[in-house]
Each structure stands twice: as structure tokens, then as C-alpha cells.
Amino acid sequence: MSDYNLPIKELGETPLVGDGTTFSSITETVAHVTETKAPRAWWVGFLIAVSFTGVLGMAIGYLFWTGVGVWGNNTPVYWAWDITNFVWWIGIGHAGTLISAVLFLFRQKWRTGINRFAEAMTIFAVMCALIFPGIHVGRAWYAYYMLPIPNEMSIWPNFKSPLIWDVFAVSTYFTVSSLFWYVGLIPDLATLRDRAKTKLRRTIYGALAIGWRSSNRHWSNYERAYLLLAAFSTPLVLSVHSVVSFDFATSLMPGWHTTIFPPYFVAGAIFSGFAMVMTLMLITRAVYGLKSLVLMKHLELMNKIILTTGSLVGYAYAMEFFIAYYSGNDYERHVFLYNRASGPYAWAYWIMISCNVLSPQVFWFKRFRTSIPVMFVVSILVNIGMWFERFVIIVTSLFRDFLPSSWGYFRPTLIDFGIYAGSLGLFFTLFLLFIRWVPMIAVAEVKGVLPEADPHHGEHAAHEGEDHNHDEAEGDVAAAPAE
């Protein structure tokens, strides 16, 4: 058996960690962040984020007190920023599950450098998303009507409604993502427990690590659990955004009633999620010096995924247009030609096209794919573009109703802005707390992809004199730089 963790040179593979990385240097690099004082930049970011979370609280309080009239939503635009934000946040979450589950099933070992980070982002993004369906119902204290619980009117939810499917899909998604994240965290929490210097830390991390003792009899079940969770999460993540798209696609609105929606939404979700991972990763990597664990290789691979999914989304935009033309349906044609590409919301449409379809095309060139400033700017543009995509889909399909007498134009209010900015504040608050207190890179998983992690690593090197003609002669050559 040759070393299975060594890069295959013939395929152009390169190591997954920087030079000189050892088991203990990984522990040290990652655990160090949670054990030392937070840098000034963290405090500045945290205070800003917490302030915006306060704005969220006040804006939602005002909304509950006064009613949904405080938003710009009005006839005929009944859905606007509320659902735009919901879909945007849910979509961002999808990259985390894609990285942790789908890339795991495909044995993409490079995911170990970024998966913890991306999974945390998933959970926080889904939390932000869950706010919006809850508050957009107007009388939030009746939100429990969405659940199948017996009530005094002895009626049940209508299970033919995609909005009810959404309740089940998103809550399942949140539960499963949290479980997946926590299971991945257990060995790393045990690492923090074993390094703890104070009684308080030992007690808290000890309780969270639930007595993990790195036993191989445990690892056996643990790895099977991880595989099963990945296997369930993969179809789950596809189902969640498909169900979100059903909220639109099963209606009879021109602009929404299209069969391309599920795959189109899933591609867009992964696209926006990867962009958000990229934005956060670039900042954290620079602030905390994680360059030996998150290599340019990881960033380049992520940029390739952004390019792929961005082009898929571009294809979907083009196909929607073509089908509107090809269907021969006047209303459908009108929505795309006069309400989106031209008309009062053309500015939003063209922001969407330039951010989502044009900006990622720079990643065809290796020079831009490996340039940190370029990828940072593109990742921000994609986040903006994907927000506008949802805005365009929702508002431009609604604002010109079937009769010109009921046409309108949506303008956001200050409360709309406050709730959106506040949800960003909540997201960053949770995220900053995460990088402060939780190992932000999967320590045990990264150790497992080091060449030294292979029990047969260096075995032949040790006996080099005796069995040099062994079938692992090539392995020796490849192993040399890692020694």
C-alpha cells in the first residue's frame, strides 16, 4: 500500500497543507485563536455587529407593534424584501452543506480546510433566514398555525401548500445542519478541553465534548455517523432550495411559474453561498494567520465553483428568456421583456446580470483566480448580485398586475433597510462569537489528511536499506519532501 495521503504528482496534485505543518502545529494554530485575547479588529467588528443586531431588535419590535404596513409592501407588491431576504439567507447557507456533505461524499479532501467555517456560516445564515417567514405573517403570534398542532378550531395545515413544505424543509435543514456541525466539533472540543488552563474552560469545553476520549471504537461509529449525515444532507440541501423555489413555481404568476426554478435556485444558492464563504474566509485568514491551513489552492478551487455555478445561473437567466419567447404567452413575454430587462426595474435587473453572470467570468484566468483582491471584490459583487436576483424575481413579477389600473412600484422604507441591515448584524455577531470561542478549522479532519496520518507513511523509508526494491519505491520519492 502506498501513502494514500500524498498528492499524486502525475495528476498535478499539490499538498493540502503548507510546508512544515505537523499534528501539533495544527492544534496550536487553531486552538490558539480561542485561547488568547481577541485582536482589536475583532472587538471593532463585534461592536459594530452587535449594534446592528440592536437595530434588528428595534425594527422588529416596531413592526410587531405597528404591523407590516411599516414596510414598503403594498398592492400589488405583497412580497418584497421580507421574502428576498429569506431566500437570500437560505441560499447562503447552502454552500456550507455542499462543502461539508457533497464534497465529503466525493472524497474531496481539500474541504477539510474550510468545512467547519462553512458549516457555521450555514447555521447562522439559516437562523437569519428563519426570522423572515416568522415576521412576514404580520401577526407573528399566530405563526404556530404553520405547525400541525391541534387547536381550538380543529383545523389542520394545508399540506398541499408549498409554504407548509417550506416550514418542514427549512426546520429540518436547520436541525440537520446543527447536528452535523456539532458532531464534527466533538473531537475538536475535546482538544480544547485537554488544552484548557482554567477550570472554567475545562468545565465548559469538557461538558461540550461529552467525554470524548479519541477511542477508535468510538471513531468507528463516529465515522459511520458522519458518512450517514453527509448522505442525508446531500439530497436534503437540494430539496430545501427546490422547495423554496416551489413557493414561486407552483403559483400561476408569469415570471414565477416555470419548471426551471428548482435547479436554477439550487445553483444560485450554492453560488451565493460560496461567495459568502469566500468573503468571510479571506478576512479571517488574513486576521488570524491561517495561511498554512487555508491555502491558495483552496481559494482557487472555490473560485472554480463560483465560476461554474455563476455560469449555470447565467444559463438559467437566458433559458427563462428563451422560454418566455418560445411559449408565445403574452404575459410571460411581457414580464421578461418589459418588466425586467426594461421598464422601471431595469436597473435592478442589470445589476443582477453584471454581478452574477459577468463578474465571475474573470475566473477563467488563473491570474485573477489566484489574486486575493480580485476574488474579494468578485465575492462581494456576487453577494450583491444574488440579493438582486431574488429581488428581481419577486418584485418584477408582482409590480405590474394583470390590469394596468393595478400597477404599482415598490419602494423600501427605513424599516425595510433596518431589518435587512440588522439581519446582517445578527449574522456577523454570531459569526464573530464562533471564531472567538470555537475551533474554526476542523482540527481532527485536517490532521487526518496529513501525509504523516497514514499509518504506513515512512514505513518503507525507515527500512530503505533492506527493501528498496519494494513495490512502494515511488512512494519513497514522493514522501521525501514531507519528511
Partner: protein
């Protein structure tokens, strides 16, 4: 101070390979109650320890089927039996519209069972284990590899087991003790 009694032998190794070969030796010597403690799952360790395949999948399968059946029964009973409603001209018990929720509940129950089933098979959360009485053991979550042999093993013998472990070239062997008193406050070191 409570009396001490031996709980397990702990042997330390520097590389996953040395630990793997030690496990093979113990397996071949007929030990059953021994374990490897490694910072990450070591490839091939299950076979080296003579362990079978994880049974977790067999626990999760019925849970998944239950989730699916539960979702169907719930929706059919609520929308077609208890309070039938016709929506969009479709029959009250229309199956296609039930598929998303049947899928979601299958996944939800399966995943909950996967995680809690894994906890159950591993007998965690666990408050105390004598292995934590060793000061060296903290390195098991960092960069050292350990083999432990518990006194419950039918082949355990203070002298002979030590000899077998010495034959595996560990960098260190330690006899870890636990408080003899069952009710003793022995978790001070463990938390």
C-alpha cells in the same frame, strides 16, 4: 483519600503506524477490552483491532422508514380523514403533494437517530473515565497515539500484559489507577 485500584494500562506511541502495529499485536495475543486513542481516525485501525463494521446503519434504517410512514399517515389523516379539504380541485388525499414532507421527515428522523444512535453505541455523554487520570492522555487529542488495555479484559494480568505492551515499543507505559470507592469524588481530574 480513597484507595486506588488499577484501571488500565496506557501505552504511548509517536506515530499512527506504531500504534496500529501495537493494536495488531494485542489482537493477535487475544485481548478484547483494549482500545486505541488517536487524534484522528487512523486508516486500517478497525481491522488492526479486529473490530467488525459499525452497526449504526441498522439503527438508522428503521428510523428513516418510520419518518416516512409517520409523515404520510399524519398528512393523510389530517387532510383527507379528519378534516377533508379540497384545494385546487385535487383529491383530499393527493399523494404527489405529500412527497416533499415525507422526504423531509425521513431525513429528520434518520439524522436524529444517526447522531443519538452514535452517542448510544459509544456510550457518550460520559461523565468520568479512569483514562483521564493520566496526565499524558491529554496529548491524545493533539499529536500522540495511545493503546489502553482495561482490567476488565479476561486476559489482563499486571505482569504479562505489561510485557506484551513492552514488546510493541511504546515510548511510555503507565498503569492508570482509579479510586476504589465507587462513590468517590473521582471526576476532579476528568472534567
Amino acid at each position: 483519600m480513597a484507595d486506588k485500584k488499577p484501571a488500565l494500562y496506557l501505552a504511548q506511541y509517536e506515530t499512527p503506524g506504531a500504534c496500529l502495529h501495537a493494536a495488531e499485536k494485542l489482537r493477535d495475543a487475544g485481548y478484547k477490552n483494549f482500545d486505541a486513542h488517536t487524534p484522528f481516525p487512523v486508516h486500517g485501525m478497525d481491522a488492526a483491532m479486529g473490530m467488525g463494521d459499525s452497526k449504526l446503519g441498522w439503527i438508522v434504517l428503521p428510523a428513516g422508514i418510520t419518518g416516512c410512514a409517520l409523515a404520510f399517515t399524519m398528512m393523510y389523516w389530517m387532510n383527507a380523514v379528519d378534516y377533508p379539504i379540497v384545494i385546487g380541485g385535487k383529491p383530499p388525499g393527493a399523494i404527489p403533494s405529500m412527497i416533499p414532507i415525507m422526504f423531509e421527515l425521513t431525513v429528520l428522523l434518520s439524522c436524529l437517530t444517526t447522531v443519538f444512535g452514535m452517542f448510544g453505541l459509544n456510550k457518550i455523554p460520559r461523565h468520568h473515565h479512569p483514562i483521564f487520570n493520566s496526565d499524558r492522555f491529554a496529548a491524545a487529542t493533539d499529536d500522540k497515539f495511545f493503546i489502553s488495555v482495561e482490567v476488565e479484559d479476561p486476559k489482563f494480568h499486571l505482569e504479562r500484559t505489561k510485557k506484551v505492551l513492552e514488546g510493541t515499543h511504546p515510548t511510555f507505559i503507565e498503569l492508570v489507577e482509579d479510586d476504589a470507592d465507587e462513590l468517590g469524588d473521582d471526576d476532579k481530574e476528568a472534567a
